[in-house]
Structure formats: C-alpha cells, structure tokens
C-alpha cells in the first residue's frame, strides 16, 4: 500500500515523543505505548489492546497509524512504542527478509514459532501468542469478470493475466511476498500494473478502472462489494497470523501488561474479524465503539467502558459534513493549535539560521551559490522520504518532524536573504562604504532594511510550505492536522480527510496573511511613496 508505507515511516517517528518524556519517570508508572499501522484492522486491534489494558488499570498512550511496517517496527525496536499488531508473514518476509520454505507455508504454527524465535534472537522483540485469525493477501476480481473468464484460482488468473489490468498497492508491488513473488510462482504477466492507494482500490475495482487488486482476507470491504477472492492453489502466500508484538522494554519491565494482552490470544477468528472490520470500514462506526463491543462480546470487559479513546474513525453516515466538522470542533481546534506550534517552532528556527546563513553566503559569493543550491536540492526530497531517513538519527516523534520542517523552511528564507541582500541598491551600499561605514553598519542601515521585504517574502513562502508539510508530521506521531488526514486516508473516509485538510488550508491562509502584514511593516519608506498621494517637488 503506497500511502501506508509513507504513513508507517512517519508513524514510527511520531511515537518517539512519549518515550522521550517517559525515561525520566519511574519504569512501572510509564504508560504502555500502543501503536498501529495505518489501515483499518490495525487501528482496530490496537484500540482493542489499549482498551483492554486500560480496563485492567494500566495507563496507555496511543500512537495509531504509524507509517508502514518499516516505521512501526523501527519504532518498536527502539522502544519508542511498546506494542502493535503484526502478521507472521510480514514479519518473515518484510522484516526478517527470509525466504518461505514449504514447511512453514504448510504449517502456520511452525512458521510462528520460527519467526518468534528469530525476532527474540535478533531484536529482543517478543511475539505474543497469535490472536487466532489470519489476514493474508487476497487477490480479488469482480464477480462478473470471474464468471466470464472462469476465474477461481490464482492459476486461472495467471492464464487470463495478459488481458487484465492490475491495480496493486505499492506495498504489495514492492514486497517479495507480493507481486514479484506472485508473478514468479504463477507466471503472471498483467497487461499493466498501476499503483493504487488502499483507500481507492475497491472503488477502482468495482468501477472497472482495474480488473485485479490486492486485498486483505479480512477486509470489511470485501463483503461490501460484489467481488470474489481467488484461491492460492500453489500455496504461494505465507501464513499471516495476527499477533501482538511487544518491545524489549515491555517484555522485561511489564509482565502485568504482557499477561493482560495475552488474554486475547486465540480469541478471534476470521469471520468475526471481517465483520468487525466491516463495521469500521463500511458502516463507518467509530473504532473505539467497535473495539468496546469486541471486548464486551469476548467477555473481557463488563459493559461499556468509559470512553477515553480517541475518536479515530468518527461515525460516518447520519450527519452532514458541516455538522461533522462542528462535532469535531474541539478536537480540530486542539489539532490546529498543535499544528501551529509545529509550524512556528520550525519556522522560527529556520529564520534564526537561514537569515544569518544567507548573509554569510552573500559574502562568500561563489560558495554561496553552491550552498544555497544544495539547500534547494534538499527541497526536492519528498517529505516522507526525509522523515524516513531521520529515523536512524532521531528516532520517531516530535523532533524528527521539527527537524524535517525546519530543513524545508531553510531554503526559501536563505535564498531570499541571499538574493535580497545581494541585489539591494548596490549604489547606495557602495556610497555608504565610501562614506566610511563599516560592513556591519552597511548591513544594518542599508542592506537588511532594503532586503527586508524580500526576506519576509521568503519567510512567507517557507511558512506556507511548512503548514502543508506539517500535515505529514502526523505520520510520525507529532500530531497536528495531519492526524485526521492520515486516518481518513487509511479508512477511505473523505470527510475525515477534509476535516484535517480544510483547517490546514485555512491555517495556511491565516499564516500567510499575518506575514503579509509583517512584510508591509518592514517595507522601506521609499517603496510606500507610490501609494501615498505625494508628488515630487
């Protein structure tokens, strides 16, 4: 899944905040950090973990929607999170990068014990006993197409593949247990393969934009649409048993939490999971609600618990969009505030560095062009990629988000400072020099004041970029208006996406407008002359 991969990286980053503050506290009073990857089932299972822990009096910190596998796992490995739901096949192929052997393929239990042992040995990370259901890849086609072409198994699909258009999530396209292995195992060659976001793949399929997609066997949406999944007749896909995997820290310090989480082992099956997922993905029921009813029907909690959960997938159908926005106003306001915080801190940091840097570079001339050029190249790195690169350096959470935003803001400010100061009235600057003003006096009296509007224009550009880029901070758990966007993308909930995107757009306009006022205020007197009605004598 293309988006989820981004998310997962970002998500891992997001998580760092909690542990950073936690280290100073006593171990057993630390909250247990429960995380998920950014798709419906992962959100739901994480919420179930969280509510179950809370029902036993254990404090919980939620970090839902962490980027893809790499980020969630990196976060777990660095003890930035304590637990998230993972699948054995993913652990084997995507994390351990081991080939599937036929024994493991045929025997899920054996696969589980092998994987659990390897994780323990390599990372000190513990797999709790499986939850009881598998959520494997399910290659899906429209029913009418399947009937027409006689498709029942993946071997059938392989035969028909040259005439079919595939739409796969980029996660699937990139994984060894995805398209690559599948093509090899079955000799498939599709007419074309397009990367699709998980949020749109089912729609693309039923609208006949594509003929084949990758789903999950417990996807709630599978039952909503008239699609069928094909039988893996050559047993290509590894088993994907769902389980909670826990950090070294939690395994060592919190036996109480481990035994509570263990209560879920073997308690869920595929039909049940599919119907819960459907309530989230199709019916739009809030994830905490569904989680509560799961725990209740499993007999693990008594009656409806108090709702301390975050409202990740708010109820969809009944209300209009405006009403929906209104319902979320308090949360939106606090997310916007957090967003603004991220932007302002990153921007302030960038101004403090980039303006002096631009001035310095202006003096260095040739070297200046090079350095400013290099900052420009930085600008071309996709934000998600930049955040992912930072995991090894800064871990996950607020800091990498701030550093990434700061890096993005540097270029427009440094560039405008450099250019602005450089092109500021060379005649006046030289005259000032010839009058005996020192370099510093020339800077303060002439160059900076004359360049100020250009510098502030650079800050404006940086601010608008930062407001946009800060929505990505949610992927790494730094919060902000990206949070509902990430969740909305994962759950294909456009209202939720808009509830983050619209305020972000408004914020961009407000920040830009505020800086426009600053720009006016620093405009040198003579540039205002044209607007005054004064005439030259």
């Amino acid at each position: 899944m293309p988006l989820s991969r981004w998310y997962s990286r970002l998500a891992a980053l997001a998580v760092a905040l909690a542990p950073a503050t936690a280290h100073s506290q006593k171990r057993d009073t630390l909250p247990v950090v429960v995380a998920s990857k950014p798709f419906g089932e992962s959100y739901l299972l994480a919420e179930v973990f969280a509510q179950l822990l809370e029902s036993r009096g254990i404090r919980v910190d939620r970090r839902p929607g962490l980027g893809a596998t790499e980020i969630a796992f990196a976060a777990l490995r660095s003890n930035a999170i304590d637990v998230y739901p993972e699948y054995t096949g993913t652990g084997l192929v995507a994390i351990l990068r081991e080939p599937l052997d036929s024994v493991m393929r045929a025997n899920p239990l054996r696969a589980f014990s092998h994987i659990a042992r390897r994780f323990e040995d390599l990372y000190g990370i513990r797999w709790l006993a499986p939850l009881g259901f598998q959520n494997g890849y399910a290659i899906a086609v429209r029913r009418d197409l399947a009937t027409r072409l006689g498709l029942r198994t993946l071997s059938d699909l392989s035969r028909a593949s040259p005439s079919l258009v595939a739409g796969f999530t980029s996660d699937f396209i990139g994984r060894p247990d995805g398209l690559e292995g599948l093509s090899k195992a079955y000799g498939m060659h599709f007419k074309s393969v397009s990367p699709l976001s998980p949020a749109v793949k089912y729609t693309a399929l039923v609208e006949s934009a594509v003929d084949v997609i990758d789903g999950y066997s417990t996807d709630g949406l599978l039952s909503k649409y008239d699609v069928i999944t094909l039988v893996d007749d050559r047993a290509f896909f590894p088993p994907y048993d769902a389980a909670a995997i826990v950090s070294r820290r939690l395994a060592r310090d919190r036996p109480d939490a481990i035994s509570v989480l263990g209560l879920l082992s073997g308690r869920l099956d595929e039909p049940a999971m599919r119907s819960y997922n459907r309530r989230v993905e199709v019916d739009g029921e809030a994830i905490p609600e569904v989680a509560r009813s799961m725990l209740h029907s499993l007999g693990l909690t008594n009656g409806p618990a108090t709702d301390r959960a975050r409202n990740a997938g708010a109820s969809r159908p009944s209300t209009g969009f405006m009403a929906f926005l209104w319902e979320r106003r308090v949360e939106t306001a606090s997310l916007a505030l957090r967003h603004l915080q991220l932007v302002l801190i990153a921007l302030l940091g960038a101004v403090l560095v980039a303006v002096p840097l631009g001035l310095l570079l202006e003096r260095a001339r040739l070297a200046g062009e090079w350095v400013v050029g290099a900052l420009g190249v930085l600008q071309t790195i996709p934000s998600i990629a930049l955040l992912a690169f930072m995991i090894p350096l800064l871990g996950v959470g607020l800091w990498p988000a701030l550093v990434a935003l700061w890096l993005y803001a540097l270029y427009p400010i440094a560039r405008n400072t450099y250019t602005g100061v450089r092109s500021a009235e060379p005649d006046a600057v030289e005259a000032c020099e010839a009058m005996g003003a020192t370099a510093l006096q020339r800077l303060w009296w002439v160059r900076l004041p004359l360049a100020a509007p250009i510098i502030v224009a650079g800050v404006r550009t940086a601010a608008v970029i930062t407001v946009g880029a800060a929505t990505l901070a949610a992927f790494i758990g730094a919060g902000g208006l990206g949070e509902p966007i990430v969740t909305g993308l994962a759950l294909a909930d456009s209202r939720l996406i808009l509830s983050g995107a619209l305020p972000a757009a408004v914020l961009a306009i407000v920040v830009d407008g505020a800086l426009a006022i600053v720009e006016r205020a620093v405009r040198p007197a003579h540039l205002n002359l044209r607007e005054r009605a004064s005439s030259p004598s």
Partner: protein, 251 residues
C-alpha cells in the same frame, strides 16, 4: 586647511587587465582637478585609490602627506567626501538622515545641525527638504544632497565620480553652481572624474587627460588647448570644440 592629494607611480590591474599603468598625479591643496578620459582609461580607478575603494597593486597614494595605507579605510573615508554618479543616497532615509550620515560616523556632536548647515550651503532649505525621501526630489536636488553629504562633516577633500553625468543640462548647471559656490566657501580640495571637457573647462584648475591607464597630459584647460602634447589630446579638443565651442573659447 585643505589637503594635497598625491599618487606616485601607481599600477593596478583587474583580473589581469591593466587599469593603471604607472600613474603619477598631484592635486594641490584647495584646487579642483578634473580627470578626463574615455571609459576604461583608468580615471575612476585612480579616483577610488584615494579613498581605498581600490587598493592599487603598486605605488604610493597619499592624502595630505600621509599614505592612505596608514589608517583603517573606514577612518580615512570619513575624512574624504564622496559623490558617486547617481548620488548613492540611501533611498529609505530622509534627506536629513542621508546628509548627517558622515557627521554621525565621524562622531560630530550635532550631526543633524551639520546636515542642515550643509543643506543650506547647497541651496536646499532644511525645513522644507530635510524630511523628504530622495525619491521625492528632482535629479538635480538629489545630486545637491549627495554633494552636501560629501562635505557635511567638514571634509577637506571631496572625490566626485561623474557627479553630473546622469543629469539633464538644466539640472547640471544648477548642481555646477552649487558645487562652485560651496567650493569657494569651504576651499576643500576636489578631484572630479568626467568625460566631459566642457565641464572640465568650467570647473577645473587643473585638467588631467587619461588614456589606457596613463596620464596623457595635464595642465590648465587653456594650456591643453593651446599646446596639446599628443595627437590624442588634440583630437579630443577638436571633437569637443565642435559641440562646446563657445564654452571653450570663453576660457
């Protein structure tokens, strides 16, 4: 009061291009010397050697017996007025602010007072013009402000780099008048760069013709006109005469 300017055997090149090729020059204290020549003749480079906007590769440059290298450039420059071609006024500062710049840098007790006095000397009423921005002035007024700035701190030397070059003929006459007037009153030494012989004729005690980084000939305008030392000088006057005959004859 005024100081003598002297350059002895000065060489300078920009990126291998020879700009000054062994120039020597004396500007007697309290006189006006005009450097004439085509673009690229080295006249501006020579002028800028005196306030160290250029530091020549070789040779000695002195202001009032003292080599310009013996003090920090900033300190030297505060003693030497400077008027560039386009005035070089700070566009965001008022006239008063511009003119009081050097008095302030030089640490005078009342920079604004000095500025107002200088403005009056160039014929600008400080009350009327002091608060205006350069963009609110005519070209001639702007250049007069630049001139006022160049002597407001009682500089004994004023360097002018084509100060009238960008003006129409009426404004130019207005600034010429102002220049001659303050020069007479204050008696500072002036070194002025121009490519205009007629201007030289009007303002100069001494005219120095420069060509390819060397001094071709120097003397009063009448001397040069009467007995040009080289064919170049002769041609220069012949050409100029075609346009400025009455002026040159008047000399």
């Amino acid at each position: 009061m005024a100081l003598e300017l002297k350059a002895v055997d000065v060489y300078h090149s920009y990126h291998g291009q020879l700009a000054l090729d062994g120039v020597s020059l004396v500007v007697p204290a309290g006189t006006v010397t005009v450097l004439v020549g085509e673009s690229g003749s080295g006249k501006t480079t020579l002028l800028r050697s005196f306030n160290r906007l250029v530091d020549p590769d070789r040779g000695t440059v002195t202001v009032g017996e003292r080599s310009v290298r013996t003090e920090r450039p900033e300190v030297l420059r505060r003693r030497l007025g400077y008027v560039p071609q386009y005035g070089g006024l700070l566009p965001h500062w008022t006239v008063r602010g511009n003119v009081s710049l050097v008095p302030r840098l030089a640490g005078m007790s009342s920079p604004d007072g000095a500025a107002e006095e200088a403005l009056r000397r160039v014929g600008l009423d400080p009350v009327k013009f002091g608060g205006r921005l350069p963009a609110e002035l005519s070209g001639g007024q702007r250049q007069r402000v630049a001139l006022a700035r160049a002597f407001a701190a009682r500089q004994q030397v004023v360097l002018l780099d084509e100060p009238f070059g960008a003006l129409d003929s009426i404004s130019r006459a207005e600034v010429h008048e102002a220049f001659e007037h303050v020069r007479e009153e204050l008696g500072f030494t002036a070194l002025l760069v121009t490519h205009d012989l007629a201007e030289s004729a009007r303002l100069a005690d001494q005219v120095v013709v420069m060509r390819r980084g060397r001094v071709e000939q120097s003397g009063t305008i009448a001397e040069l006109q009467r007995s040009p030392a080289t064919l170049y000088v002769q041609t220069l006057f012949q050409r100029a005469k075609a346009s400025y005959a009455p002026l040159l004859d008047a000399q």
